[in-house]
Amino acid sequence: MRNVYGRRLTHLFAACTLFCASALPALAAWQPDKNVEILVAGGPGGGTDQLGRLIQSIITQHNLLNVSTVVMNKGGGNGAEAFLDMKLTQGDAERLVIGTNNVYLLPLVAKLGYQWSDLTPVAAVAEDDFILWTYQDAPWKDAKSYYEAVKADASNMRMGGSQSKDVDQTLTLLLNQTTGSKLVYIPFKSGSEAAIQLAGKHITSNVNNPSESLSQWKGNQLQPLCVFSRERMAYPEKVTADKSWADIPTCKEQGLGVEQYRFPRTVFMPGGVSDEQRAFYVELMRKVSQTPEFKEYLTRNALVPTFLEGKDLVTYIEKDSARVTPVFTEAGWLRK
């Protein structure tokens, strides 16, 4: 009897162990146990800041995390401050940084003491299109005639944009290269400043993202000439009285050399974290990007709904870096 009982007990133990073992992955799936810090690689009020704070508000409203989140701005050096800060906390899986392609392009042009490979890419949650804008009642009615005017005599024409050695100026250089034009680029502090300068007819064009010039377009101060994308934008709802985002021709249709130019909105973690930890945040970002609030944000800012993670994201980063490297070399920006 006793033996049988003992054997039963052993069975029970064995069963229990088995059960526990099977339950183990579910229990041990990594979860943050401190507050998650969301660093924003940009100053308060900018596009990156808005995304960071939107992600925070979605996480809070949908209870996607069982810990609190804290948003902090580190916008110094066009965002380099945030990435350097991430590099210093190697292995800390309770930190995220929201940025753009600046995370991998900044180290190419400035001596900063980090490489993007020092951090762990989590996801790209959206992409921004670039649009060539000019002011309302400009003498040129489409991108083609604008660039013909630029090629003829660009001495009184200026391209404005946000920051120096950043996406806007890179696109201007690409355009100058492919069309053989010599458009002078003037860097302003932000895209909205470039929009106002254009609305005041101080510059003749800029390459703002859709949301940066939206209200001037609605207010009949600016008009879009073309979008730097292979196909037209996917938002057919009317923005002005008679035009929608989808009505804007692509720059390829207009005969400009640059086929597609976008920048990703990226989320990174510090380096030296485990795959499990990375996977946790990939899932978190996927959940965030599927909420109605996030979809509304995409529509409102006319962003491209892209979701990249893992190998796809790394390939994207490598391809994007390879594409701009010759441009940077030619402009003499590339850091030796």
């Binding site: 009020g45 400035a110 001596k111 909205s192 005041g200 207010g219």
Partner: protein, 507 residues
């Protein structure tokens, strides 16, 4: 008058107990962050922002804008009592506010500061109510050359109207420019003066510099001069508020001039700091009591406070109508607007009618509520000076350290604050003015960007600064201000010469 109807609509929208409650909470929180140097309005608004995501946009903006007003009012309290400006824009208030506090006239200085602040703010709101579309159109005329001319005007007014030795002013200003150059340069996209140190990437923070230069520097000087805080033991009663009010109408001209300077600087994004400095310099030059400036003159408190607040209020105008923030706090609020799904810009007034007019109405009420709340605290704050220095000094240093820490949540900034404290002490001992340094540190970066952008526009021709009547007028006015002392002397000499000739011819 359609604006008036809209305003009344806005008023009826916000006249609910809930919204008025939010206003009082906002103002109280604002005073709290304003009194703690370094925390300031931008940080306070950023901290509160996540709480507002679940509110309706109108309630949210009421809470945030009232916090802004509260912080603006709160900022003058420490400037006057302890010579510690919470933000660069209240530096000019210390020039005469602090000497007044030392003479035991703290309550008077506080009352004058708060009252003139309210009057300044109200003019700003009136502008926003009735002239916003016209001013927005005017602001679009501004490009880099015009911006540079505005900054030049601020610098030149300060140098030309200053009483300090010109060379010392220039030295102090140059140190400020060097500080402003640290970090990422907008025009070239290069890092400057960072020496590969990550903590220098974002540049030197003005708040930390101001807390150190003024707060710690002042404490060091006071310690050296013998451990006494020379606040006299004057009886403080609520009657002092009424007595000050009785004195104020005689300064109507200063008030008017300061309001104009403030609104102008707020709309053309010179900002509140430039406005308060410029208004103080002008008041010192053109006042009847100019000899008394810097020694505790009531007019020297009224001028910068009025300009600071009218600039702070009118800075919201370019934010709402153009989407360009006129101040750091406006930038944070702008981010908030976007999160609530509002796109600031030319169409905001028509598309978001309720929101905009609710905000404008809340500016009227919020400022009045702020004034009532802060006036009620005047006797309380003024009596802080009765506490012996040996008790209050460590507390001030602690508050300064907390303030410096909270700017970026970094211990390094606390160290920086001490370095600036030593520098501030040195400046005082050697008779160098600190104010030009602050002005240059705050505006230097923007002025440089504007200048280099102008050069890109014109292919390097300086003639661009006289290329149209607007920019030409501004540049000429700036040069006039710079050489005003010489010009004034010339005019006087000419007058004497003529007088002499007349005398000679007479007999």
């Amino acid at each position: 008058m359609t604006e008036f109807d809209s305003l009344m609509q806005g008023m009826s929208l916000i006249m609910t107990p809930g919204h008025i409650g939010l206003m009082v909470i906002g103002v109280l929180l604002g005073i709290l962050v304003g009194v703690l140097p370094g925390l300031g309005a931008p940080n306070g608004v950023a901290l509160l922002l996540p709480l507002t995501f679940t509110m309706s946009p109108v309630s949210a903006i009421i809470l945030l804008s009232c916090m802004y007003w509260g912080a603006l009012f709160g900022g003058s309290i420490t400037s006057i009592l302890f010579n510690i400006p919470g933000e660069p824009s209240s530096v000019a208030t210390t020039f005469d506010g602090y000497p007044m506090a030392r003479q035991g006239k703290a309550a008077e200085a506080l009352t004058a500061a708060f009252t003139s602040a309210l009057l300044g703010a109200l003019v700003g709101v009136l502008l926003l109510t009735f002239l916003s579309s016209r001013i927005a159109a005017f602001a679009m005329e501004f490009s880099s050359p015009e911006f540079f001319a505005v900054y030049l005007l601020a610098f030149c007014t300060f140098i030309g109207m200053s009483k300090n030795p010109p060379l010392k002013t220039v030295v102090s200003m140059m140190i400020g420019f060097a500080m402003a150059a640290i970090g990422m340069d907008t025009v070239s996209g290069d890092l400057r003066l960072t020496f590969d140190q990550p903590w220098l990437l974002s540049g030197m923070s003005f708040e930390v510099a101001v807390i150190g230069l003024f707060g710690i520097g002042e404490i060091l000087c006071t310690v050296e001069e013998g451990l006494v805080f020379r606040g006299e033991h004057v009886k403080i009663t609520p009657m002092v508020i009424l007595r000050t009010w009785k004195k104020m109408p005689r300064y109507w001209l200063t008030w008017l001039r300061s309001t104009l300077v403030g609104c102008w600087m707020g709309i053309t994004p010179g900002g509140p700091t430039a406005a308060s400095f410029m208004s103080y310099s002008l008041a010192r030059r053109f006042s009847k009591n100019r000899e008394n400036f810097g020694k505790g003159e009531l007019e020297g408190v009224i001028a910068p406070e009025t300009a600071d607040h009218s600039a702070g209020t009118s800075a919201l105008l370019p934010m709402l109508t153009l989407g360009i923030p006129g101040s750091a706090t406006a930038a944070v609020m702008l981010g908030g607007l976007m999160i609530w799904g509002l796109h600031p810009g030319p169409t905001l007034f028509t598309e978001q009618h309720d929101f905009v007019w609710g905000l404008i109405a809340s500016m009227y009420l919020g400022n009045v509520v702020s004034l009532i709340v802060v006036l009620a605290t005047v006797p309380l704050f003024a009596s802080i000076l009765r506490i012996p220095f040996s008790i209050i000094a460590p507390i001030i240093i602690m508050v300064c350290a907390i303030g410096a820490y909270s700017v970026h949540n970094s211990m390094f900034d606390v160290g920086m604050m001490l370095v600036f404290g030593a520098l501030g002490y040195l400046f005082k001992k050697l008779g160098y003015p600190i104010a030009p340094l602050v002005l240059a540190a705050v505006l230097g970066d923007k002025a440089e960007d504007a200048f280099r952008q102008s050069m890109l526009f014109s292919n390097g021709e300086l003639g661009i600064f006289w290329s149209n009547p607007l920019v030409g007028g501004l540049t000429t006015a700036a040069l006039l201000m710079l050489f005003w002392p010489l010009i004034a002397r010339g005019i006087k000499a000419l007058g004497n010469l003529k007088g002499a000739r007349v005398q000679r011819a007479a007999p």
